[in-house]
């Protein structure tokens, strides 16, 4: 089925929850209100004409740095300078978060994309992991890296980073840590200090008896 036909079915089902449709995009995408996403997904999965039995991908997005038309503005992503100094900016991130659902039907061989948009302060979307098992780990990943909370998820732990990690690394205002649990993560300012802090300045052990020194230096 064509994507706009699918969207018409969907709009009929969820009514006000359907916010818009872009049929020109390479992957035609429908915008859905966060409150309607479970209804929309349930309909698309269970309806005979749609038959979307597979969730191909679920992605979390930080839309900071895009204007209303989807055009990119320049955003400074924070890292380290070449000298190992942390970069900072005064700019406050205010863009929305989004979640994108890519669906596929093995029966009808058609694809469809759903998109929800939530304000940055809310950052919470209802879970769909009781519809497709795949969503479980995808949602955990989106929570881990972008910090979108999926309400109702049975096991919303971090996926890639350790539990004790602070922050969500793929947010555009993420500040890189200097260390994590004593593991140093920051590079060196070799211009200021050619020796990393833990490296010994004199590699020859002073208290070793003569002849017991490493020859390699």
């Amino acid at each position: 089925m064509e994507a706009n036909a699918i969207y018409e079915l969907l709009a009929e089902k969820i009514g006000d929850g359907a916010l818009g449709f872009d049929g020109e995009a390479i992957d035609p995408v429908a915008d859905v209100a966060p409150a309607s996403i479970v209804d929309a997904c349930t309909f698309l999965r269970d309806d005979e004409r749609c038959g979307f039995n597979q969730l191909m991908c679920l992605s979390g997005i930080d839309w900071d740095g895009y204007d209303e038309n989807g055009k990119g503005k320049s955003v400074k992503i924070l890292g380290y300078t070449e000298l190992g100094e942390p970069e900072t900016t005064d700019r406050v991130s205010d863009g929305d978060f989004g979640v994108v659902y890519n669906l596929f039907s093995h029966k009808h061989k058609h694809k469809f994309t759903l998109r929800v948009r939530v304000p940055r302060e809310v950052a919470s979307v209802p879970t769909i992991c009781n519809l497709w098992e795949t969503a479980n780990w995808h949602e955990r990943e989106a929570w881990d890296l972008v910090g979108i909370r999926f309400e109702g998820h049975p096991d919303l732990r971090r996926m890639l980073m350790e539990e004790s990690w602070v922050g969500h690394p793929l947010r555009k205002d993420y500040q890189m840590p200097d260390e994590w649990e004593n593991v140093p993560l920051r590079g060196q300012d070799y211009a200021k200090n050619p020796f990393p802090p833990l490296a010994p300045a004199d590699p020859v052990t002073p208290d070793a008896p003569a002849g017991d020194k490493p020859a390699e230096g």
């Binding site: 004593n182 593991v183 050619p194 010994p200 002849g211």
Partner: protein, 205 residues
Amino acid sequence: MSYKESTTPPDGYDVGRENMLDFKIDEQFEMLEQSDAKNFILTTVDEVFNWAKLSSIWPVTFGLACCAIEMIAASATRYDIDRFGAGAFRATPRQADLMIVSGTVTAKMARRLKLIYDQMPEPKWVMAMGSCAIGGGPYFKYGYHVVKGVDYMVPVDIYVPGCPPRPEVLLEGLMRLQDKIRGRQGKMVTPKWVQDYAKKIPYQK
């Protein structure tokens, strides 16, 4: 001397020393084989032990990222790291002499890496393979999860640069490590400063 440049001889290092220490052990063995009389060879304990050690550097099986592919290639038939006695990749650190850190050291892996290093028996060596292991490589600027050089975690003997280094370069690094072992005198333990350095870096909270 900066320990970043450990492949170049430091000040005061006697380059002639390797020749001085060379008791031509290979020639002596050859003579031994050719003669049918009972024979003896003359050498030093250092020389013989170093020769044995540098001829059977067993690396621990430890591939972290794309560089590991080159390490695997180096151990396959075309490059054949076994020519240098270093082809016996051990699946346990307790049987290994060398840790080839081949790839990106992430924050999560760094603690495991330290654990593996601590489990290796003395004498042990570490080779940092690829720009990731040397200094963060392509992840230096935005790699929030990458340790910017494995030398923050464990002491490194040989740096093998490249992204990834070709197998030839890995073999070159291995030969430089053999030179290093050949030049050593005295007890074959990791020097105290290296042990102290390693102790400073905790792998657990």
